[in-house]
């Protein structure tokens, strides 16, 4: 008795089930959705996948995803090119952009130091960051860099990378900062884990000034 579909629809279900966050039932639901929509809509999705692979490049300056290097952020003269925010992945740039609190530029490492997964500093986009800072220091540079913000994930790999980069960049003599750790807004003291609460306490700020 067949417990899979006939040919092409099963192929599509299997391919969708390989994607992150999609299980067999979700893949089946998507396949039948794509069967029920206009053919043009299904073709548009297929074309979008091909186009993305064809067109997406990495910015030569910051390593962000873009269609033309330099990326729109690096190419924007209205941004503050003296401040570089170092992030792990391109999607972290979007998270920071959505806060509307940052006007500087970025540098994407492409991951974090992780000895368990065999990711060492050499595998990350760190040499380009150092070159970028050296270029800014040279005489013909328009902008010198005044601050590097290390905005890595608050987990073991992110901490290791933060420590590594802060030691590497310290001799350059510029301000190196990191994101504040503390209680999430809307969170509850009672349910905060002890590490987060400890960080919030250590990083306490004056309310009168």
């Amino acid at each position: 008795m067949p417990t899979t579909y006939d040919g092409a629809i099963q192929n599509l279900i299997d391919d969708f089930a390989k994607l992150p966050g999609i299980g067999p039932k979700g893949a089946q639901r998507i396949a039948f959705h794509l069967l029920s929509v206009d053919e043009s809509e299904a073709q548009e999705l297929a074309q979008a996948i091909v186009d993305m692979r064809d067109k997406v490049r990495f910015c030569d300056i910051c390593g962000n995803v873009c269609e033309n290097s330099p990326c729109p952020i690096c190419a924007d003269p209205r941004r503050d090119h003296t401040t570089i925010c170092v992030v792990q992945e391109p999607k972290d740039i979007m998270s920071i952009e959505r806060t509307h609190e940052y006007r500087g530029v970025y540098h994407v490492l492409g991951g974090a130091i992780n000895p368990m997964a065999n990711i060492s500093p050499q595998d990350l986009n760190i040499a380009a960051l150092v070159r970028r800072m050296q270029a800014a220091e040279s005489d013909d540079a328009q902008d010198s860099i005044t601050e590097v913000i290390l905005a890595l994930n608050p987990d073991i790999e992110g901490e290791a990378t933060t420590t590594y980069l802060s030691r590497l960049l310290e001799p350059v003599g510029i301000t190196i900062t990191r994101l504040a750790s503390g209680l999430p807004v809307g969170g509850d003291l009672e349910y905060a884990d002890e590490v987060t609460l400890g960080r919030a306490l250590a990083g306490r700020r004056s309310v009168t000034q």
Copy 2:
């Protein structure tokens, strides 16, 4: 400040976010996954979408999805062609096949009667079911149909369709059955809703025989 990605990658995220069960974060995760895998794997998914639309047909006999009509189930001489199980969607066939309890053939309605969504009996694959039964009654038919199992969803639309079909098919004089309603296996009497428990009681079966 940009809060969307540049060009092709944002297009792909938007297209994935239109699919059922995928939100903006999931779509972003999938897009970056497709950026990180081998180009051939991304192209395979795009091709699978195009192929599915090109190749998938509906079986002329039962309405199931297939590559060649009649579908493998209708074309299988080892199946019991005297019993038809009526289901709403092709995916319901897979659910029943996975039980390994059914050896008959199927008929896919393509939905259920739903006045709220403007789906009337004329919009469903019911005329073909009636023709199928008439053909089986004719003198030159190999198999006459002895039983129709109405395996529709146990919700309002499914119940309405079950009632409609049972009235429509009753004059033909064959056995018309429906799936048993009752407690799900592994369920708990305490947490069963009253309608399900009422059905389980009404449909109680003798344990001695």
